[in-house]
Structure formats: structure tokens, C-alpha cells
Amino acid sequence: MDKNMNILIVDDYKTMLRIIRNLLRQLDFNNVDEATDGAQALSMLRSGNYGLVISDWNMQPMTGLQLLQEVRADGKLRNLPFIMITAESKTENVIAAKQAGVSNYIVKPFNAETLKEKIEKVLVHA
């Protein structure tokens, strides 16, 4: 697992971005960028070189699901590992995300161990 890869985290709550960034640092991932909505994230992904996206779902104007759909429809980004971290915990949400091509799904509130486990699982299959 390349701990030097660039990771993009996307959430409209800046506090949440800070928490995820700190947890990633504890896992030795130090190259972390932040976006506060799907549109900004998509722009950064298209112009950057990222190995993993960790995104919230409920954001405006572009949601995490729309971001995921855009990523999977983009020839350059379509295989990018994409983890959804969200408070949306209904079965239909998980199914919709899976059908859109999500790599893994973490429900908030989550713990550091779950984040570590999902990242490892996603990157092994990448």
C-alpha cells in the first residue's frame, strides 16, 4: 500500500474534514487534500493525481452520489477507489451507492479502525 498516494477527502463540514485528515495522518497518510462539495472535488480530481477519494454524501450543489457517478463516467477516473462516509444509513442508500460503483461504504459515526479496515480493503482490490 502506497502511503504517499494523494487522497482527496470531501465533506461540507470543515470539522469533519479535519477529523478525517487527522485520522488519516495517524494511519501515515500525509498527502491529503480537501474539498467541500462534489463540484469542487470533481474539478480537483480532473486536474490532480489522486489514488483514493473519501466523500460525504449529503452536500450541495453536487452530492457525493453525483460525484461518484461523474467519476465512474469519466474515462480517466473511472477506476479510482471511492469510499462513501455518510450518515445516510438506509438500505436503499447503500444499494444506490453500490449500483453507482462505490468501492466501500462507511456509516457515520465511525471509528478509526473501520476507516483503516475499509481503506486497506479498497486499496488491495484497486
Binding site: R18, I19, T63, K90, I95, A112
Partner: protein, 216 residues
């Protein structure tokens, strides 16, 4: 058993009601209902049987209840709700979100200081401190959850405001002609944007893992 003339009275009453029904075929407003009740009462002179008197009392009570409900709804003063109560409530809720965000950021400042100290300390003590900091980070994600819950409450308040406005517009003479508040158009994902679920309503991480695995 002979009905002692009650049958004739009922037939006459039925005739009057049929005439009123024909005259007010499209009547749907509370005012029209009240008018019909008054006309029924005005025509019901003369001897009444006990059951007809009970019926009359019930009809009178219905008329009074409609009038009282109409007055209560009209006195709700929806303009006060629109101008003061809802904005005040949403401001208070926004202040809660802001205050908890500020407090959470201060906690995170302290945690980052502890993390530096933990790495300098090293050893078992350093590891214990680091583990405690991790747990604080995890706990601090509450701010995101509470923020989303409060947003749901604000949306509910807005919905109540719209519904009250619609009811008052229907019943209030003062609001005659006012149109109900427009509904916000729902986007294609609206049924999927429900925010945090109360305990027992959503699925937990283990169930999500099982669900995802079922696709493999």
C-alpha cells in the same frame, strides 16, 4: 307501532333538507355549512320529538364547533409565525450548530497538541495518549451528526409553517384569496437524502458490510 305524526314531520324535514341540498349543491366552505345549519334551525319550529331535539342539539353543536374552529384558526396570526417564531427558532438552531462547531474545533486544537506530545513522549505512555486522542477524534464526529439532525428540524419547522399558512388561507376571511406557500421542488435524489437515522431505523456498519458483500 304508530309513529304519532313523527313520520310526517320527518318527511317534511327531509323535503326542506332536499331543497337546501339542491340550492347549495356546490357548497364546500365553512361559511356555507354554517349557513345551511342556520337555515335548518330556522325551519325547525313546532313540536319536536325527543330524538329530533337531540339531533337538533347535535347540529347546533356542530355549527358552534365550526365557528369556534374558524375563529381559532383565523387568530393564529400566520404572519407572526412567518416573521418571528420560525426565523427565531431557526436562528437559535443555527447558533447551536455554530457553537458546537467552535467547541469541537477547540477540542481538536487540544488533540493535535496532545498528539505532538504523544510522539515526543513515546513508549507506552505515548501510545496510551495517542489512543485516547484517536477516541476523541471519533467522538468529535458527533458535530456532523447533530448538525444534520438540526437541519432536519429546520426543514420540519418550514414545512409546519407552510401547512399552517395553507390552513389559514383556507379558513380565514382576512386571508381570502391568499395562495398556499409553494412547495420546494424535490430533486431526483430527494428520497435518498434523509440524514442520520434514529437508533433502529437505519442499518449499522455490520449490516452494510453484509449488504455490500452480497453484490460480490
Amino acid at each position: 307501532m304508530p309513529d304519532g305524526g313523527n313520520g310526517a314531520r320527518r318527511a317534511a324535514l327531509a323535503e326542506r333538507l332536499a331543497a337546501l341540498r339542491a340550492r347549495h349543491r356546490d357548497a364546500t366552505t365553512p361559511e356555507a355549512v354554517a349557513e345551511i345549519v342556520e337555515q335548518v334551525l330556522a325551519t325547525m319550529h313546532g313540536d319536536l320529538t325527543a330524538s329530533e331535539a337531540t339531533l337538533l342539539a347535535e347540529v347546533e353543536q356542530i355549527g358552534r364547533t365550526i365557528a369556534a374552529a374558524k375563529q381559532e384558526i383565523a387568530s393564529l396570526k400566520v404572519e407572526d409565525i412567518n416573521r418571528a417564531f420560525i426565523p427565531s427558532a431557526t436562528d437559535e438552531l443555527d447558533a447551536i450548530v455554530e457553537a458546537t462547531a467552535q467547541a469541537t474545533n477547540e477540542i481538536l486544537d487540544c488533540c493535535e497538541t496532545f498528539e505532538k506530545a504523544a510522539s515526543e513522549l513515546g513508549g507506552e505512555m505515548g501510545e496510551a495518549l495517542q489512543a485516547a486522542v484517536t477516541r476523541i477524534y471519533e467522538a468529535c464526529s458527533f458535530q456532523d451528526i447533530t448538525g444534520q439532525r438540526i437541519t432536519k428540524v429546520v426543514r420540519t419547522l418550514k414545512s409546519i409553517e407552510d401547512r399552517i399558512a395553507a390552513i389559514v388561507a383556507t379558513f380565514s376571511d382576512r386571508a381570502a384569496g391568499a395562495e398556499p406557500a409553494a412547495q420546494v421542488a424535490a430533486g431526483p435524489e430527494s428520497s435518498l437524502l434523509n440524514g442520520p437515522q434514529l437508533p433502529g431505523n437505519g442499518v449499522d456498519q455490520a449490516e452494510i458490510d453484509r449488504l455490500l458483500a452480497s453484490f460480490d
